[in-house]
Structures are given as structure tokens and as C-alpha cells.
Symmetry: C2
Subunit: 317 residues, 2 copies
């Protein structure tokens, strides 16, 4: 608690019923030019009372502070009062501090940890080491930076609000893939590069019969394929009851690809595994972005071109 | 043998004592604009008699033919007479055909398989599945494409010729790192992205006390660090008696790196492991490029700023 007292309290003008949200920067540095104030204002207007961790705006080379400072932010977040902990942004920096975190202690704090991208490393580690549920969802600068509050994606905002208030019970989205899929298992995954970067390490969770979801950004389809191939060859993919593919974007196809694209990757992968592969999950480095309980038991079903995820709120807090 | 008969015989004008070399394309397609003829002529002048596998110039999207065609090239290479098998180029495509290859049968053919980059996947698999020695060395288009034969890097060419004739017993290079390092173990590794892409799969060899070498291209230092961190956290790095860092190049640092660079990565990594880390190995996507026996027992020693690798030729053929 004493450390959290040093935090910049940004919640003075928040509405009375606002949900306190503690913000940490566990990965890359927040640029001095980033619209932090605007994003905080939008977050307030959305019904949250954001508090910046004292190290959230630190800069050390490309990182948001030293390894110890970034690891310390998790302990401070666990010790302060807000039950919601968000990240300012992703980037890079979490994998190298994984050995510095005490996952059982962080899980005992019973926070709602929310984030994505590089944050996937923390989420996988929390699942592997403490069987803890975290939330795959928005980040401050990625999702709340719009100049006008009205320009914030309404699906992203709505499911985030619902998830954080415990009201999110089901999400549905238009998908492509096999018909009549039914599955039930642990929902897990996130950024594909990070999922693969943890393979063979102590922070990769062993999940059988799970519903694995992936997304990625700035990765050419051949790299996506190489990573999915690693999940295939390591046996992870065959052990899942479904694979959900989210946004894969911001890459550039080249002339020498000669038609090779993400569709080819998915088509090839479907021939290699019996695990049903469903594309179209609204999650990743784009809008809309669902907020999903990472590590929770969920049920998956399809009806026509719609895929539903039924979230059992009682499995997590 | 019958399949190899279909190969384009390109060795008609080779000198009598020329070393026959069979060329395959197991990964990306050779561009129709690539200077294949010039590279073959240079290879001939260097004392080799190159023969192109019948599928070496196939193009299927970004690949040099279908998975089956590229896998078939290995069987054809094993069945033909030349003891030296080279690749036209690397790129991408080997990881997805790893399950299609019969490593014991390929090892029994007792060829000198030479290559690098994506070829690392085959080399690691040969080591994991057949304890077979292969060669980390040049590729046709990467190293023999010079307009003038005289412009081919003399160290690259000389050590390749020596290695292929069985005369390469020791290599030395200027290095940076800890003094007075002495080690002995299995020399293994190659392209870092590929080494990490095989972690947790059946084709990743279990090597204790080895001398691991890595190189990479087009990967930002933060990605190099993330991959080395995976080798660290998976226990692979601590199990080695030395890590040799080759060429890491063709990346661009950004303003927001604020001084973070490859030196920072090496410095950070040295604090995380007791395994001595030596930089300066002439291997990777640049010249000079040594030809090294992948999977062979070697001895490593340093004298002043020079690192030596003593290759025990009798350990392999």
C-alpha cells in the first residue's frame, strides 16, 4: 500500500460510481508525445477512475523503466485498492521480466488484470503458475486515444464495460470455418508471437481441450504460418478443442508471394489438424476488440455464420 | 537413382577433378531473375561440378514447388551420386515439411548436406532424429552470385573448399567476450529464428554441453533478445558450454530505441547466464562465412582476441 500512495492520483474529477483502474506500463515506454491525458479523459468518461502507477511514464531506452521498475509495477498494482489493472500499452519487455514476478501472490490479490499484445506473456504465466484468470482486452493508448470520445469503438468499449462490471455473459461474432462446432474448455492465447516465444519455458501453460485464440500484428503470413506450425508440431494445436483466429494485420504481401496469403496459411493448417479453426474473432491490434476472460472455462457454439462464446462468470471473480 | 537421372546435368564443362555438387531448393522459390547461371559458373570455377535437382527452379507461390516436391528433393539428393548436396537459397518453407522427411534414411546416404538460414531446420532435425552431421555453410545464390569470380569472398570460398575436401581442421576468428574460454562439445545451431521455431517440437535436438552458434537477418535486436530469452528460459542456454554469436544484420534501429541495440542485448544476456558468450563468429547472412560441421564434436579455445574452433574431422565423414 505504501508504494501505491506514491501513485499519481488522476481520479479527482471522476464520477462517484466510477470504477477505479490502476494503470501500469510493463513493456515498452510510453512516448512523451503519446496522448496520455486525452486517453485518460476518455477512460473517465467511460466510467473509470484511472490512476497511473508512478513508473507508468518512465523511459529507459525502449522500455518503460528498468526490469526491476517494471516488475515492481505488478507488486504495486496488487497492493493498491483498485480491482481493475490495465496497461498503458504493449510493445516489448515482458518476457525478460517473467522470472521476477511472484504469480501466486499476484493471483491472491484478485485483481482484474487487462491487456493484450506483449501482456500475453504475463497472462500465460499467470495461467501456468497460478491457474489465474486474467483479461484479454483493451489498452489505454491503443483503445482510448480517440480525439473525440464518440470515436471510440462502441463494441470494444461496451464489452469492456460489461466484462469489468461482471455483466458479460456471451459474445457473438461472424466467423468463417467449419459448421456446427461445439466446444468447451479453457479460453487462452493472445498474441501469437508471444505464445510461441514462451514455448518450452516454465511460463507456457499446459492446456488440454482448450479454446486457443491468437492474433498478431506486423507479421507476414509466412511468419504466422511458421508460428502456427510450431504450435502444430509441438502438439499444442491438436490438444485444443478449437482455434480462434483474431485480427492478423499490418503486414505487406510481396510480389514474390505470388498469391500466398493468410487464407493459404489457414487452408494449409486445416489439412494438418483436426482441431476446428474459426476465423473472425474480434480481437487483436484493431477494432472491434472483445474483452475475454483468459484462462476461464468457456463454451463455444456456432449458429449459421455466427460463433458464440458463453462465458461462465462464476468461474472467475 | 532413377529420379536423379531426370536431373539437369550441368557439369559437362567441369574440370576432371571437380567435386560433384547436387543442388536442391527446399525453401523459397528461386526468382526467374536470379543469376543462377552465373552462380553455377562461379561454382564450377571454384572446382565443383554442380547438378541442379529437377525441381530446383520450380515456383509455387513463394515456395520452390509443393511440399511434396521439396521433400522429394531430399530423397533424390540422397539417391544420386554426388556426395555434396547444396541449396540454391534459403527463405522459408522447411519447417512445414519436416514431418515428410526420413532422417535416418537421409543420414545413411552419408552426404555432405550444406546450407544455412531456413536450412537450419533440416540440420537440427538431422541432429535430433539421426545424430547426423551436416554442414553450416554457403548457399549457391547467396555466396556465388558475384559478377566476377574474383569478387567471391576468399575466406568463404577457401573454408568451403577445405571443408568439402576434408582438409579443414581449425578455424580462427577475432572475437569479443570473456578471456581464456575453453570448451568442447557438439557444435550446433544456425539461424536463431529457426532454432527458436523448433523449440518444443520433435526436431529440436537435446544437446548438453554443446557449443551453440547463432546468426540472424532482418530481425530487430529486441526480437533477437526475445529469442535468446526463450533459449535462456527454456534452459537450453545454461546447458551449453559456449554461445557463439555470428552476423546479426539488416535491421534498422528506431528513434524510440534510445540507444538500445545488439550490444545491450548481449550485455543483458551475459548477466543472465554463466555460459560464456563470444561474438564475432564469421557466419550468417554476410561475408565472410565459415563452413562448419553442424552436430560434430569440436573444441573451442581462445588466445588473446582470437577464438579457435578445432574440428575433429574423424568424427564425421
Amino acid at each position: 500500500m505504501s508504494e501505491a500512495d506514491d501513485a499519481v492520483d488522476d481520479a479527482d474529477d471522476a464520477p462517484v460510481r466510477a470504477c477505479p483502474a490502476y494503470l501500469i506500463s510493463p513493456s515498452s515506454a510510453v512516448s512523451p508525445a503519446a496522448p496520455v491525458e486525452r486517453a485518460l479523459a476518455n477512460l473517465r468518461r467511460a466510467g473509470f477512475a484511472p490512476v497511473l502507477d508512478r513508473a507508468a511514464l518512465r523511459i529507459r531506452q525502449r522500455f518503460a523503466g528498468s526490469d526491476e521498475q517494471r516488475a515492481g509495477a505488478f507488486a504495486r498494482a496488487a497492493a493498491q485498492d483498485a480491482s481493475l489493472v490495465m496497461i498503458t500499452r504493449g510493445g516489448y519487455g515482458l518476457t525478460r521480466i517473467l522470472p521476477l514476478l511472484d504469480y501466486r501472490s499476484l493471483a491472491r490479490a484478485r485483481k482484474r488484470w487487462v491487456g493484450l499484445s506483449d501482456f500475453t506473456a504475463f497472462q500465460l504465466a499467470m495461467l501456468a503458475k497460478a491457474r489465474a484468470v486474467t483479461w484479454s482486452g483493451p489498452a489505454l493508448l491503443d483503445d482510448f486515444s480517440a480525439e473525440r470520445f464518440e470515436d471510440i469503438d462502441q463494441t470494444t468499449l461496451g464489452t469492456f464495460q460489461d466484462a469489468m462490471s461482471g455483466a458479460l455473459e456471451i459474445v457473438g461474432f461472424r466467423y468463417a470455418g467449419p459448421k456446427d462446432v461445439e466446444a468447451r474448455g479453457t479460453l487462452w492465447g493472445g498474441n501469437l508471437s508471444i505464445v510461441c516465444a514462451l514455448l518450452a519455458t516454465p511460463w507456457f501453460p499446459r492446456i488440454d481441450g482448450g479454446i486457443l485464440f491468437i492474433e498478431d500484428v506486423n507479421e507476414h503470413p509466412y511468419r504466422i504460418e511458421r508460428m502456427l506450425t510450431q504450435l502444430l508440431h509441438s502438439g499444442v494445436l491438436d490438444r485444443q478443442s478449437a482455434l480462434l483466429v483474431g485480427h492478423v494485420n499490418r503486414y505487406r504481401l510481396a510480389e514474390h508471394d505470388r498469391g500466398f496469403d493468410l487464407q493459404c496459411v489457414i487452408r494449409w493448417l486445416r489439412k494438418q489438424t483436426k482441431t476446428p479453426i474459426l476465423t473472425g474473432l474480434p480481437f487483436g491490434h484493431a477494432s472491434p476488440k472483445l474483452t475475454l476472460p483468459h484462462g476461464a472455462e468457456v463454451a463455444l457454439g456456432t449458429e449459421g455464420r455466427t460463433c458464440y462464446l458463453i462465458l461462465d462468470e462464476h468461474h472467475h471473480h
